[in-house]
Amino acid sequence: MNADGRYVLTVEGLTVSFDGFKAVDDLNLYVEKGEVRAVIGPNGAGKTTVLDLISGRTKASAGEVKFKGHELTSLREHEIVRLGVGRKFQTPSVYESLTVAENLEMSYPKGRGVFGAWMFQRTSEVRNKVEETAEVIHLKERLRDEAGLLSHGEKQWLEIGMLLIQDPELMMLDEPVAGMSVNEREMTAELINRISKGRALLVVEHDMEFVKRIAHLVTVLHQGKWLAEGKMETVQVDPKVIEVYLGH
């Protein structure tokens, strides 16, 4: 397969088993540049585990994950991040005691070593980038506020911003609209459409209306296995998918 040219991310035969239980089983996944891919499936389908495997949080039992030609399964988390893979967690994970600006600055991809961080200076370049990012994630007015004071939805945006400032080529978002109001979901969908330019997005989400709005392609997982893939309209009338969601 002509993987390297077309696809940012190729996952082949990815398998992980925990004490014999296969949480992800022989999964193949190809994500193109500029694509927003949604991964859906009932609870326990292994969606978050797939993100864990790609980001190095969980080690794969078998299979390979290639990102721009680099094999990720043998790398450690921070090395994967440095290659350009960003990951947002299911529950918003921001530094609550720091301000929004500091949160973004901490994620700025300079001064990542011990002494680099000690000598890190808040240059105008950094400041501009922080402001620019804050603008994109609708938090420009709140730069000086402590992140702990943000609403749940705003924290989700902040975490997206923390990925964005690293300018990753692959962004993985785990339930980006969980706990958001209708209005915030709307804004997040817009945000995702805007930031997907020039990079690939892999989104795990339960909210089907939201998935419909953002995803170019949808991959359905069931019990760790690939079940269906295609456009949302096709997938949602697929009898296999309907059966999985309904049960017997």
């Binding site: 609403s151 923390m162 706990g179 339960h206 089907m208 209306e209």
Partner: protein
């Protein structure tokens, strides 16, 4: 929009907090630093006799350990119960140099092997062991004092943190290392002086360190090193590195997934603390005139943690005051009620943990409106509590989110199979609405 309403609330609701932030800003910290410097450099030396001042100097060497713990434990969240190891190693390095200088062939001519430390002679050792030879050089010793303990910490830190050993397990391992080293020192009497330690230290490069004048000079050197350490540590903690240490204490995964090697950061904090402890140990040997395994083992290591806790484990200045308080308390009480002291220090630790988690530094903070922050932290409430109702659910409800689809598929049953997925979205909108009521 939630953001706007929240913003309007912010200045009013966080008034006291803002005031505290202003007070604890750079100027305020500088004032605190100047007060400490004046106390240590002027007021104490003028008001205390030679004996008390030497005692104070001894306690201030523990303050180096406490400062290290502020960085390592208070900021990076790594509890080490083995700081005595590094204090001891630093102290032993210095003691070895001083002992060799005190063991010149003339003053040891009655030994069967003149020119080696007395305890070696008593243990039938006839030649200076190889590990002792480099310590004839002052330069080597001065380099070894921070370097050897730092290297040991680097090895321990790398081995533990790369394997993601942390928390209680790390604390237990450091404690075990403290036990191992003190047993090793006691067991290898011929090489280390055993349980008595290395005693009868006399001169540093020909300069008698036992006179009152020498004590005074060493005290001043000690204080200057301590103040310098505070300045450097404060800069470090105020840099991005310091914020990273704090961040990894609270959100380790986020730091790791922002492209940082968490193991390296933790190892740095641990090595930093070890080097400070070692400097303290060397200053201890110089001022007190001996070094023994009783400063290496588990008990002194834990006492040092208590000092840092009493001072306020994330406050540099607090660490100094905490150390002085605990140690003068120890001297005072153990003179009068020797059998009660251990219970007392235990009770003190419990009191600090339960009532004043921010130690001495925290009590002042409570008075200046920081109380609210503290309470908020204790109750584990995030900012969500202050967001206007409806803007977002409190974090606890997050657990519900992950089951949104299962709730949704319930809605799907009602809607009928052909429209399953769209109806899921309706259901999850509904569940979003119900969540907002929560």
């Amino acid at each position: 929009m939630a953001g706007g309403a929240n913003q309007a609330d912010a200045p009013g609701a966080w008034g006291p907090r803002r005031i505290w932030q202003r007070l604890s800003s750079k100027d305020h910290q500088t004032t605190g630093f100047l007060i400490l410097a004046t106390l240590l450099l002027v007021i104490f030396p003028l008001s205390m006799g030679a004996f008390r001042l030497n005692l104070l100097g001894k306690y201030l060497t523990y303050a180096f350990v406490a400062l290290g713990l502020v960085v390592c434990w208070g900021h990076a969240g790594i509890l080490s119960l083995g700081q005595g190891v590094f204090f001891g190693l630093g102290g032993y390095c210095m003691a070895m140099f001083l002992k060799l200088e005190a063991s010149d062939p003339i003053s040891t001519k009655i030994q069967s092997t003149p020119g080696i430390p007395d305890f070696m002679d008593w243990n039938q050792i006839t030649q200076l062991p190889h590990v002792w030879v480099p310590f004839k050089s002052l330069l080597f010793t001065l380099v070894a004092v921070p370097l050897l303990p730092g290297l040991l910490a680097l090895i321990i830190g790398t081995a533990m943190f790369k394997r993601r050993v942390g928390g209680v397990y790390f604390a237990i391992i450091t404690q075990a290392i403290a036990a191992i080293l003190s047993i090793l020192i006691i067991g290898q009497q011929g090489y280390t002086g055993g349980v008595n330690g290395i005693t009868d230290l006399k001169t540093l490069h020909g300069w008698d360190i036992r006179t009152d004048r020498a004590h005074m000079i060493l005290y001043m050197v000690n204080v200057c090193l301590l103040l310098g350490t505070i300045v450097v540590s404060r800069r470090m903690l105020a840099s991005k590195l310091g914020r990273l240490l704090l961040a990894l204490r609270d959100k380790e995964e986020r730091v790791r997934f922002s492209g940082y090697d968490v193991a390296n950061l933790k190892t740095f904090a641990f090595v930093y603390a070890a080097v400070l402890s070692a400097i303290g140990g060397a200053m201890f040997t110089l001022q007190v005139g001996f070094m023994s395994p009783s400063f290496v083992g588990i008990v002194p290591s834990i006492e040092m943690v208590i000092c840092a806790a009493v001072g306020g484990r994330s406050s540099l200045m607090g660490a100094v005051y905490g150390t002085l308080l605990v140690n003068f308390g120890k001297t005072f009480f153990s003179e009068r009620f020797p059998e009660l002291w251990l219970f007392l220090i235990g009770a003190l630790f419990i009191l600090v943990v339960m009532v004043f988690p921010d130690g001495v530094a925290g009590i002042r903070l409570d008075k200046i409106g920081g109380y609210w922050t503290w309470l908020r932290g204790r109750l584990g409430l995030g900012g969500a509590k202050d967001a206007p109702p409806g803007s977002s659910p409190p974090p606890v409800i997050g657990a519900v989110d992950s089951s949104a689809l299962s709730a949704g598929s319930g809605g799907g049953v009602v809607g009928g199979p052909s429209t399953i997925l769209p109806s899921v979205s309706v259901a999850s909108e509904r569940s979003a609405a119900s969540r907002m009521k929560l």
